[in-house]
Every structure is written in structure tokens, then in C-alpha cells.
């Protein structure tokens, strides 16, 4: 599997599907949906994908070490609840602290030997319950600075654009310019071999889960600012959507292969599909079903060695 594509694209996992799919979507939409290329619509797409992009970059880190985090959607939801529920001055620090705690719990459970899917499935459920217990429905007041940060524009470009650029830059620096970045590729490639070279999996893995939860928190802050309201279920789709996005972007869920570019391209593909369905007037429920189909397709492209969970 790795053979030729690895030679050409290194460990980025980028291939014809990852690069071709968003281009094809773009071409199709440009041809069949006249309003697609309008400036307003492009800005809309950017707005729609920002939160998913941030979450997908977090998911990318976890996937690189061979893990997965499907609790991140609940983290987004719970962040939203925290933002509107606690003292406005403490809202952001409280949300970040929450992300650290969730990430630590997930990471510790996984390093203790619980399968990452089981561990994060259970924290996903727990956190969703907690969010609903705290805030039964959408509402609450979002601190003004957060609304400003999510909705303002500068130099003719919307805030969403800057959020995206900042997230991509942070993930790129972390992955490509630090020891930590190189080592998570090594651990994902083969944790045992990395251990023989003196790189232990424990701390980097834990850090990846914490960073992924923090990505969920940041996405939650952005999203809450955008919709100017708390919503205890708003993050629910993000868990699987983020997995779909990175899988479409050629990130191998078995670890060690993937790239920031892949996560970005996968997110754009999903964003274009949602936008296209919207423009073409398809029921949003069908587009949820289509996400499921895409997820099946994307993970079927990745042949694992094992059968099972």
C-alpha cells in the first residue's frame, strides 16, 4: 500500500483521491450551481468549514499516533455550554481547562490499554450527557469579545479566514518543525521500534489527545461566537465528520501517515459537498447520509492489517 505513493508523497498520505476530490467537487459545483462562485458563497463556505477544520487538525494529531478521538464533538458542545454558563471573564480559561481534563482522561485511558474507540466513545457519551444536564436547550449570553473574534473582518477578509490560517500554521509548525512532530510520526509508524530508539510513546500520545480536545475547545469557542448562543448538541456531528475529513485527506487511521494539507483538503471536500447540497436544494438529512457514505468510502480505501474494532 505504502509503496509507490509513499515514494512520491513521503509520509503525507496525499494521493490522487485526496487532491483530486476537492478539485472535482469545485469543478462540478462551478459548472452546475451558478451562485457557487459568488464571493458571498465562498465566504459562506469558509465560515462553514472553520470549526470542522480546527477539529480535523486535532483529529489529525491523534490519528498520526494511531489513535482516534470521537469524543471531540461532545467537547465542542460542552465548550459552548461552558462559555454561556460561567462568569464571562473565566469562560475561555474554564473551557481550556476542560479540554485539558478531557484529553488527559482519554489519553490516560488509552495508554492504560483501553481501545481508543471505546475510550472516546464513552467520554463522548458522558460529556454529551453533562452538556445536556448543564444546559437543556440552546440559549445563554455569549461574551461580546468572543462574538467579535468570530464575526469581525479585517483587510477585507472575514474572521473565519484568520482562524483557519492560525490553526493551519499552528498545526504545521508543531508537526514539521519540532521534535514532538517528528516523534509522533515515529510512534505512529511503529511504537515499539520508536521505543528502541529511545522515543517512548506515553507522553507524546497523551499530548496528542490533550491537543485534540483543545482543538475541540477552540472550535467550540469559535462556533459559539458565530451563532451567538450556547447549544448543548451543536458539536455532535463533528466527531465523525472530522474522522471523515482526515480519512478523505489520505491520513492513515493506523498511524504514521498523514499531513496538515490532507486534513485541510479533506475538510474542504466535506465543506464543498455540504455547500453543494445546500445550493442544489437537497434535504440536509440526505447530506448527513451522504457523509456516512463518504466515511465508508474513505475508510475502505485504507486497508488495515487487522479485522475488528
Amino acid at each position: 500500500m505504502m509503496g509507490r505513493s509513499a515514494r512520491r508523497f513521503g509520509r503525507s498520505g496525499l494521493g490522487y483521491v485526496a487532491i483530486g476530490l476537492p478539485l472535482a467537487m469545485f469543478a462540478l459545483l462551478a459548472a452546475f450551481a451558478p451562485e457557487f462562485l459568488s464571493l458571498q458563497n465562498i465566504v459562506n463556505v469558509n465560515n462553514q468549514i472553520t470549526a470542522l477544520l480546527i477539529v480535523a487538525l486535532g483529529q489529525l494529531l491523534v490519528a498520526l499516533i494511531g489513535g482516534i478521538d470521537i469524543s471531540v464533538g461532545s467537547v465542542v458542545s460542552l465548550t459552548s455550554v461552558v462559555i454561556v454558563s460561567v462568569n464571562p471573564a473565566l469562560a475561555v480559561p474554564a473551557a481550556l481547562a476542560l479540554g485539558v481534563v478531557v484529553g488527559l482522561a482519554n489519553g490516560l485511558g488509552v495508554s492504560f490499554g483501553v481501545h481508543p474507540l471505546i475510550m472516546t466513545l464513552s467520554s463522548m457519551t458522558f460529556l454529551q450527557g453533562l452538556a445536556l444536564l448543564w444546559l437543556a436547550g440552546s440559549g445563554g449570553t455569549v461574551p461580546a469579545p468572543l462574538v467579535f473574534a468570530a464575526k469581525t473582518s479585517a483587510f477585507g477578509l472575514p474572521a473565519a479566514f484568520y482562524w483557519c490560517v492560525a490553526a493551519i500554521a499552528a498545526a504545521s509548525v508543531l508537526l514539521y518543525f519540532t521534535r514532538f512532530g517528528l516523534r509522533i510520526f515515529a510512534i505512529g509508524g511503529n511504537a515499539q521500534s520508536a521505543g528502541l530508539s529511545g522515543v517512548r510513546a506515553f507522553w507524546p500520545s497523551l499530548a496528542c489527545y490533550v491537543l485534540c480536545s483543545l482543538a475541540g475547545v477552540v472550535a467550540g469557542i469559535y462556533l459559539t461566537g458565530r451563532i451567538v448562543s450556547g447549544d448543548p448538541t451543536m458539536g455532535a456531528p463533528f466527531s465523525l465528520d472530522s474522522v471523515t475529513a482526515i480519512a478523505l485527506g489520505g491520513v492513515q487511521l493506523s498511524g504514521g501517515v498523514g499531513s496538515v494539507a490532507g486534513a485541510v483538503l479533506g475538510t474542504i471536500t466535506l465543506g464543498l459537498i455540504t455547500n453543494g447540497m445546500n445550493l442544489l436544494g437537497v434535504s440536509p438529512f440526505f447530506s448527513a447520509a451522504l457523509t456516512g457514505v463518504l466515511l465508508l468510502g474513505a475508510i475502505s480505501l485504507q486497508r488495515r492489517k487487522v479485522i475488528g474494532i
Binding site: G10, T178, R183, G195, L196, G198, V199, R200
Partner: protein, 507 residues
């Protein structure tokens, strides 16, 4: 204990280690001196790898200590050992396939500038290291794209790159081609001249006599002898390693072989591999020999249908006619072919289940899934007695048995299943000498009763002692066929390393 003289670099003192019920090392003591190449040898399962893994910091010893310059040292892990001047070239590849050559060489001690990885520096120093070892490769190549031989050279370069006083090579030549071996020899001589202590773990006699100043022999986890190599002869070394005459270990060969049981036609294990054809006859034990990683494993796994093959066909011949096999393992097993994998713990046995369940599963090989499971318990007990399985009773879990008894259970599964062809990878890996002889006897009896056996083994002596016919595999092709009775290590190695004129493998 001899007093530590001033050129003593490393002293092992009363090292013991066990893994579950298995004693890997018992009370091993000896000394390695500066500026020498020190062979550690012994049969498979003698404890060589465990000993060096303790020195490399991978395992802590259960008892005993390691002294350097007379001071006890303890390592917290491989990285700690390397930081303290002990670097190791492991037998198994530790390179990450998704990292470049340069990244692999510096993993764990990446050069940094202002907190970020200094890739320019890393590449520059990596080129230096490769140049020093004499490897011509691009440092930006992904290691997963290199050949096995190239990967081993990188592995060796990695060990040489770390600043160290002690360097351990664990079976370093197993997967090297001839030029690679020359590079290794040059490197080791250089390291010796620089006053370093080189531990050289190998059971290849040629290399020991060529390279090593001192030889330590281990057997069944115990220290047998540490002697200057020049005081040893091949015969005396072998008898130290084996502790008995070869003839006693292996059963008598059978005089005749019968009709073909399996015929392999133009089998290619992947699109670029040569096609191989051979027959396995009833009554014979056939060996696939060769250097590690030359394709023996893929050929036998392709033959039973465990891995897909690119071309060719495999047929099994019975009294009733012939069956095509090799497409799927389930069908091969139904047709009467049993497969015993080399790694019994991860691939062979159901460790938490009982002996009875492990053997009994074989009896179900041709039953339908919805039918009632009938397991003949008397047969299981008889087999356990015949194979001399040492266990409390048939309900004991297989995980608590010793290596030799586990191996017997795996073979017993197929005896109970009534198959007539056995494909066995590494029949005696990690098995003590007593059980070895019993396993050889079992395989020979199976063949004498009209069965056919194929083995792969990294121990040449095993092929020479046990097999009726030896096929030498090199670069995924069969390059020679040798009669077992007339085979010697030299003949097999010559074919394994380089094909003689006229017998060249098609490329």
C-alpha cells in the same frame, strides 16, 4: 569471579532473567574487554538475545548486575543505555518506514536550533555517517522504500553514529548481502582499533572465527565458556554450543520418498518475484533454506494461501485425485494441509485456552459451522502422551506451558486434524534442546507415515540434520536443490549468498 583488570569494560555478574515460566538466563557471568571483538554465540533460544537486550537497556535483569569499570550500572531504557555509551544494532529492524534515512539516524537525539529541528544539520551529519560506513543512499529517502539489506546497513550506521564505548551487533549479517558484510567487517575493525568493545552476537562460525577475539558460548540460558577464539576449533566450538553430537539430535532419514503430495507451479509471491516450481513428496522432509528475508516465508505462506500470490498454482495430490489449494487458508486446511507459524505466541496458539481446546480445534477442520462440535477427548489425551507434552492435565492453559510443549501442542493440533501435509516455519525456535529432538522425531514419524513436511529455518544445522532435500532460496527464487544427506553448511551458504554460474536466478 576474576578480578576486574584495567582493560575490563563490561562485566556481567550473575545475571538471571525469566519470562513467565521460561528461564531465559540463569546466573550468567563473564567479562568483555576494551579494544576487542567479543562473540556471544549459542543455538537459537540459548539466551543470546535476552543477554544483549539486558545490556542494551531493553529488559532489566531479575537478578545480578552489570559493571562498567568496576561500577554497577543500571539503564532506564534503550535511550538511557545509549546516552551512557552502549549502542545497539538490533536484529529486528527498528527503522521507521515512514521516516527518512536522516530522521531515522537521529530519532531520539534530533539536532535543534532555537527549539526547532535543524534539518540542514541533520542531513549534513547523516551524509557524513553514511559516507563513513560506505553506504551510498540519499538521506531524504523514506526507509520504507529501501531494500532489507539497505535498511540493515542504515541500522548499522545508526549504531555506529552514536558516540559510544560499547557497540552491540545482534545477528548483524543475517540480512546483509556480500558487499554489505564487507562494509560491516571494515566498520567493526575500525571500532576495535579505536579501543571500543564490540559484542558480536551470531551463530555463524565463519564470522566468529574471522572477526572475533573472544567467544562466549551460552546454552539453555547458562554460561558455558568464554575463551579466546584462537584456542577454539570449529569442532570444539560446536560441541560447546550443542553439548552433544549432532547425530543424537536428529532422527534417521528415511530411505525412500513416495508420490508427490503437493506440486507448486510457477508460483510468484509478488509481481516482480521470480516464479518458483517444486514438488513435495510423501515421506520426505523438505527444507527451504537461505538468508533471512529472502522469500522463504512468503513462499510457504503463499503456498497455503495465507498471503495472496501474484501468479502460479498449487495442487495437492491425494489417492482420490487432485485439489487446487493456496487461494485461501481455510480451503487449504480443509484439503489436509496444516500450517505451523514461526511466532507461536502471536500467530499460532490460543494462549488463554486449554490444551484440549487448542488441539481440539484441529478436529473441527472439515465440520460445518452449525453442526455440533465433537471433540474426541481420548484422542487428545493419547496425543499428549505420545508427544510427551509436559502439563498438569489437558485443561491447563497453553500460555502457561514452556516453549517446547507449546510447539508440540501446535503440531498436535494438526496430528489430531488428520492432515497429511505439514508446513512448519522455524520448527524449534525458542525450544530447549531436549524438546528439539522430540519435535524432530515427531516430524520424521509424520513423514514416515506417508505425510509430507516442509520446513523453513534460519538455522542451517537444522536443514542439514533433518531434511531429505534442501531448496536454497535467494532473492525470492529457488537457486539450488541439495540432497540433505550430502549437504554441508558451506555448500548451502555458497548458494544462499551467491548463485554458482549456470544456476543463476532469473531476475
Amino acid at each position: 569471579m576474576p578480578p576486574a583488570s584495567n582493560d575490563c569494560e563490561i562485566e556481567f555478574r550473575n545475571i538471571s532473567k525469566r519470562f513467565g515460566p521460561i528461564r531465559a538466563l540463569t546466573d550468567v557471568s563473564f567479562v568483555g574487554r576494551r579494544g576487542s571483538v567479543h562473540a556471544v554465540t549459542g543455538e537459537n533460544g540459548a539466551g543470546k538475545s535476552t543477554l544483549i537486550k539486558i545490556l542494551a537497556g531493553v529488559h532489566p535483569p531479575d537478578a545480578g548486575e552489570i559493571l562498567r569499570d568496576g561500577q554497577p550500572i543500571r539503564f532506564q531504557g534503550p535511550a538511557d543505555a545509549r546516552a551512557k555509551g552502549v549502542s545497539t544494532v538490533f536484529q529486528e529492524l527498528t527503522l521507521l518506514p515512514n521516516l527518512t534515512v536522516a530522521e531515522n539516524l537521529f530519532l531520539g537525539r534530533e539536532p535543534r536550533r532555537a527549539g526547532f529541528i535543524d534539518r540542514g544539520e541533520m542531513r549534513r551529519r547523516a551524509r557524513e555517517i553514511l559516507g563513513h560506513v560506505g553506504v551510498e543512499l540519499d538521506v531524504d529517502d523514506m526507509c520504507g522504500d529501501l531494500t532489507i539489506s539497505e535498511q540493515h546497513l542504515i541500522e548499522i550506521a545508526k549504531g555506529a553514529a552514536a558516540p559510544s564505548r560499547v557497540i552491540i551487533y545482534d545477528e548483524p549479517s543475517a540480512a546483509l548481502d556480500a558487499p554489505g558484510v564487507e562494509k560491516l567487517v571494515r566498520l567493526i575493525e575500525e571500532q576495535k582499533a579505536a579501543g571500543k568493545l564490540v559484542f558480536y552476537i551470531s551463530h555463524r562460525l565463519d564470522e566468529i572465527f574471522r572477526l572475533c577475539d573472544v567467544t562466549t558460548v551460552l546454552k539453555d540460558g547458562q554460561h558455558v565458556a568464554t575463551r579466546p577464539t584462537r584456542e577454539l576449533t570449529r569442532e570444539s566450538l560446536v560441541s560447546l554450543m550443542v553439548g552433544r553430537e549432532l547425530g543424537q539430535l536428529y532422527p534417521r532419514r528415511s530411505a525412500r520418498s513416495g508420490a508427490p503430495a503437493i506440486s507448486v507451479n510457477d508460483l510468484a509471491i509478488n509481481a516482480t518475484a521470480a516464479r518458483v516450481s517444486f514438488e513435495i513428496k510423501r515421506g520426505e522432509i523438505l527444507g527451504l533454506a537461505g538468508l533471512e528475508g529472502q522469500g522463504q516465508r512468503e513462499i510457504v505462506r503463499g503456498l497455503v494461501g495465507l498471503v495472496p500470490h501474484a501468479a502460479g498454482s498449487v495442487r495437492k495430490h491425494d489417492a482420490a485425485g487432485e485439489t487446487k489449494i493456496g487461494e485461501a487458508i481455510v480451503a487449504s486446511v480443509r484439503a489436509g494441509v496444516g500450517f505451523v507459524p514461526e511466532d507461536r505466541k502471536s500467530e499460532g496458539l490460543y494462549l488463554p485456552l486449554s490444551i484440549e481446546q487448542n488441539i481440539g480445534l484441529g478436529m473441527l477442520r472439515s465440520a460445518s459451522m452449525s453442526s455440533r462440535a465433537r471433540i474426541d477427548k481420548t484422542r487428545v489425551k493419547t496425543l499428549m502422551r505420545e508427544m510427551n507434552v509436559r502439563a498438569r492435565d489437558e485443561k491447563q492453559s497453553v500460555g502457561s506451558l514452556s516453549g517446547g510443549n507449546q510447539q508440540k501442542v501446535m503440531i498436535g493440533r494438526w496430528l489430531a486434524a488428520g492432515v497429511d501435509v505439514l508446513i512448519v516455519e522455524e520448527p524449534t525456535r525458542g525450544v530447549d534442546v531436549g524438546a528439539k529432538a522430540e519435535i524432530y522425531r515427531l516430524l520424521r514419524e509424520f513423514a514416515d507415515a506417508g505425510g509430507a513436511v516442509v520446513i523453513t529455518s534460519s538455522e542451517l544445522t537444522e536443514h542439514i540434520g533433518l531434511c531429505d532435500r534442501i531448496l536454497v532460496v535467494r532473492d525470492r527464487a529457488i537457486v539450488a536443490e541439495i540432497d540433505g544427506a550430502g549437504a554441508t553448511e558451506e555448500i548451502v551458504m555458497r548458494h544462499a549468498l551467491m548463485s554458482a554460474p549456470g544456476q543463476g536466478a532469473s531476475t
